[in-house]
């Protein structure tokens, strides 16, 4: 872990019981008919200088969580502490001095770039807003930044619609990193990039972390990328954190059944292993709605291990091994928390396990043909 001994040990960011509910309004009178429970009580800490990866199903509340901790959204409940200061309900004005320190890279680059501004002016905006004059001038600094994220100076005077998807994403990255913030929440920072530029941006973020001691919260769906960049990883499911662990343990021995299913579904870049993944767990049940989440453990409608207690009681997020927190009554790779409980009828049907040619992960099946040994 990158937690350097010289730094103080208290976390940079501390989140307790964080909640965000979006009201659903109906009809002409716009009466509230319910709420989307996007984030529904989560606790975690981000240590100084570390990278916390966040993964989870689409719609489980990752971006909302990111917008809450950067205070682009007002929390409905809970508490957020940044570097010892309570920022839970700070006003826009109150946040201003902290804007420099807390930055967000947005998932949807198109929606976050003003179409009427050139890239040059978009990336120099943070300097103007915070009244910062870098050595050598803003323009030079901005061009340098563009170059570091793999864009060229010829892009300086162009408008967002003239860029490709991946180029737009890099503009967002350059803007977020411009003022050398302390905490960067990056929502899918590299998903629109080709693997080579992805490698370049990941390395850049890595270097900046070493140089400036940046702390990252990185949200991504690509589990290969997440494994590469993170020190610790939080797995979210339907507004909750269900597992939080260091990356090695998480990948080698996931404890939460949802984590296990997630890991097994990663597509492997090898056409000869098509349909021949060693054990892929397909979740068959419908994705539940965050408007009316299932009782007890929110995963019980899709879990193959679900028992009575899972439907009735929400499992707390407990430290079942040093540095590993899991919310499950019957975790994998850890002692059963509620042994002997009768299984739910739905559990038998919950998944389909596809398995064939069970080769180990590191040596793909190589059939006949003049293929090189490894790919």
């Amino acid at each position: 872990m990158t937690n350097e001994p010289t730094r103080t040990n208290d976390p940079l960011l501390k989140v307790e019981g964080l909640v965000k509910h979006f009201p659903i309004k109906k009809g002409l009178l716009q009466r509230q008919s319910g709420a989307v429970k996007a984030v529904d009580g989560i606790d975690f800490e981000v240590r100084r200088g570390e990278t916390l990866g966040v993964v989870g199903e689409s719609g489980c509340g990752k971006s909302t969580m990111g917008r809450l901790i950067t205070r682009l959204l007002e929390p409905s409940g809970g508490r957020i502490e940044f570097d010892g200061t309570d920022i839970t309900h700070l006003s826009t004005g109150g946040m201003r001095p902290l804007r420099r320190d807390i930055q967000m890279i947005f998932q949807d680059p198109y929606g976050s770039l003003n179409p009427r501004h050139t890239i040059g002016s978009i990336v120099s905006a943070p300097f103007r807003l915070q009244g910062v004059e870098p050595e050598g001038g803003v323009k030079k600094e901005v061009q340098g930044l563009l170059e570091r994220v793999g864009l060229s100076p010829e892009h300086y005077n162009r408008y967002p619609h003239e860029f490709s998807g991946g180029q737009r994403q890099r503009i967002g990255i350059a803007r977020a990193l411009a003022l050398k913030p302390r905490l960067v929440v990056a929502d899918e920072p590299v998903s629109a990039l080709d693997v080579s530029i992805q490698a370049q941006v990941v390395n850049l973020m890595d270097d900046l972390q070493d140089e400036l001691g940046l702390t990252y919260v990185i949200i991504a769906h690509d589990l290969s990328v997440i494994r590469h960049v993170s020190d610790r990883i939080a797995v979210m499911y339907l507004g909750k954190i269900v597992e939080l662990a260091d990356r090695t343990s998480l990948y080698q021995a996931p404890m939460h059944p949802y984590t296990k299913a997630l890991m097994s579904a990663v597509p492997v870049p090898d056409p000869r292993r098509r349909g021949a993944k060693s054990e892929r767990i397909l979740l068959k049940g419908d994705v539940p709605s965050p408007i009316a989440p299932p009782s007890g453990c929110r995963f019980h409608t899709r879990c193959w291990k679900a028992t009575e207690i899972c439907r009735a009681q929400e499992p707390p997020l407990l430290e079942l091994a040093p540095g590993r927190r899991v919310a499950c009554h019957h975790p994998e790779n850890a002692p059963d928390q509620a042994p002997g409980d009768p299984a739910l009828a739905s559990a038998g049907e919950a998944i389909e396990v596809v398995d064939a040619t069970p080769k180990t992960a590191a040596s793909p099946a190589v059939p006949e043909g003049p293929a090189p040994k490894k790919l």
Partner: protein, 363 residues
């Protein structure tokens, strides 16, 4: 074993032969954008073919012209949606009809029914002021004479198929009320609403978690089985192409540098840029590495495109002797094996040697 697909098997690259040779036949396509700084040659001589029932995976550099190509096929450049006076040339044949020079109304009629696209940027493709449902309903009713209620039922059915929970409730949500992945799925629903014969999916699963991704790929496969659709899937995720594509096309700097059956591209790739791509990915099926290895150097300018091979300034093998071919000569796509093409001046034996001895063992 993966069978050799027919899609790449056409050797003839001569532009101007007037008969289409496949369901989708793109020939010498050029799309250039005039800007204040000069002419941006986003696509600069691209040719490929695709048959019905087949899937072409398009990978390559960010900014190499993948989306611009898709928009060209969909006839969306002329709408002025992107760029001022785009210059387009070449031919795009779809099901026997040429689209580059066709009447815009004709292309509009094809769009949404015979061909549909899943856009890379869901926010840019969806109208912020209309509900998700009404946009899908609209897309359906343009091509089908049905009542609003029927169309609404179809919209809910599709939202359900792409895995939106409680579709009957969420159908009236606005795009900003959906998560990134839900917007992407809503757009997929919109693209599939008319069972298109050609589906172009531009990064269809990047915002999706792997379980939903698997579900979407299955849905695309179903569409293909049921309607024999041709699918172009653009993605940076080599895991996805390995999973779903019959053929792969690798783009760099507005051109195709390599194209061939998926198995060849992964096991016997014949272009240094393809090697670079394979080498820079983090792999979950391998030991953890400390640092990723990107292709060195900066992406090429599309205004001052290097003469000769566009990859030259970054290619570790640029100095390998090429039997008298000079640096300024542009390598054309040449067939190296049945259906497998590469645009590189190096002799094939040399490339095979480098791949087997230097590249593959390190992957």
């Amino acid at each position: 074993m993966t069978e050799l697909s027919k899609t790449g098997a056409v050797v003839d690259e001569r532009p101007g032969t007037s008969e289409p040779r496949a369901f989708l036949d793109v020939r010498d396509l050029k799309v250039h954008f005039p800007t204040d700084d000069g002419l941006v040659k986003s696509v600069d001589g691209l040719s490929f073919q695709l048959e019905k029932g087949k899937t072409l995976g398009v990978v390559g550099e960010s900014g190499s012209g993948k989306s611009v190509t898709s928009l060209a096929i969909m006839g969306l450049h002329r709408l002025g949606a992107r760029g001022r006076h785009v210059r387009m040339s070449g031919e795009i044949w779809l099901d026997g009809k040429e689209l580059v020079n066709a009447d815009p109304d004709e292309v509009r009629r094809l769009r949404g029914r015979e061909m549909a696209m899943i856009f890379q940027d869901p926010l840019s493709a969806m109208h912020p002021y209309y509900t998700i449902g009404s946009q899908i309903v609209e897309a359906y009713r343009v091509h089908n004479k049905v009542s609003k209620q029927v169309a609404r039922r179809r919209a809910i059915e599709l939202l359900d198929r792409v895995g939106i929970p409680e579709p009957a409730k969420r159908v009236d949500a606005y795009p900003h009320e959906f998560s990134g992945g839900m917007r992407q799925r809503a757009m997929i629903a919109m693209a599939l609403v008319n069972n298109p014969e050609l589906l172009i999916a531009d990064e269809p699963t990047t915002a999706l978690d792997v379980t939903v991704q698997a579900q979407i790929l299955d849905l695309i496969r179903d569409l293909q089985k049921e309607f024999g659709s041709a699918v172009v899937i653009i993605t940076h995720d080599l895991g996805v192409v390995a999973e779903i594509a019959d053929d792969i096309l690798v783009m760099y700097g507005g051109r195709c540098v390599e194209r061939g059956p998926v198995d060849k591209l992964f096991y016997e790739p014949q272009h240094p840029y393809t090697w670079g791509l394979l080498g820079s990915m983090p792999r979950i099926d391998r030991e953890q590495t400390d640092r990723l290895i990107p292709v060195k150097g900066q992406p090429p300018s599309l205004i001052n495109v290097p003469s000769g091979c566009a990859f030259n300034p970054r290619c570790p093998y640029a100095d390998v002797p090429k039997g008298g071919i000079t640096r300024t000569e542009r390598p054309e796509l040449r067939e190296v094996a049945s259906g497998h093409f590469s645009a590189c001046h190096m002799a094939q034996e040399e490339r095979t040697r480098i791949w087997t001895e230097e590249i593959a063992p390190k992957l």
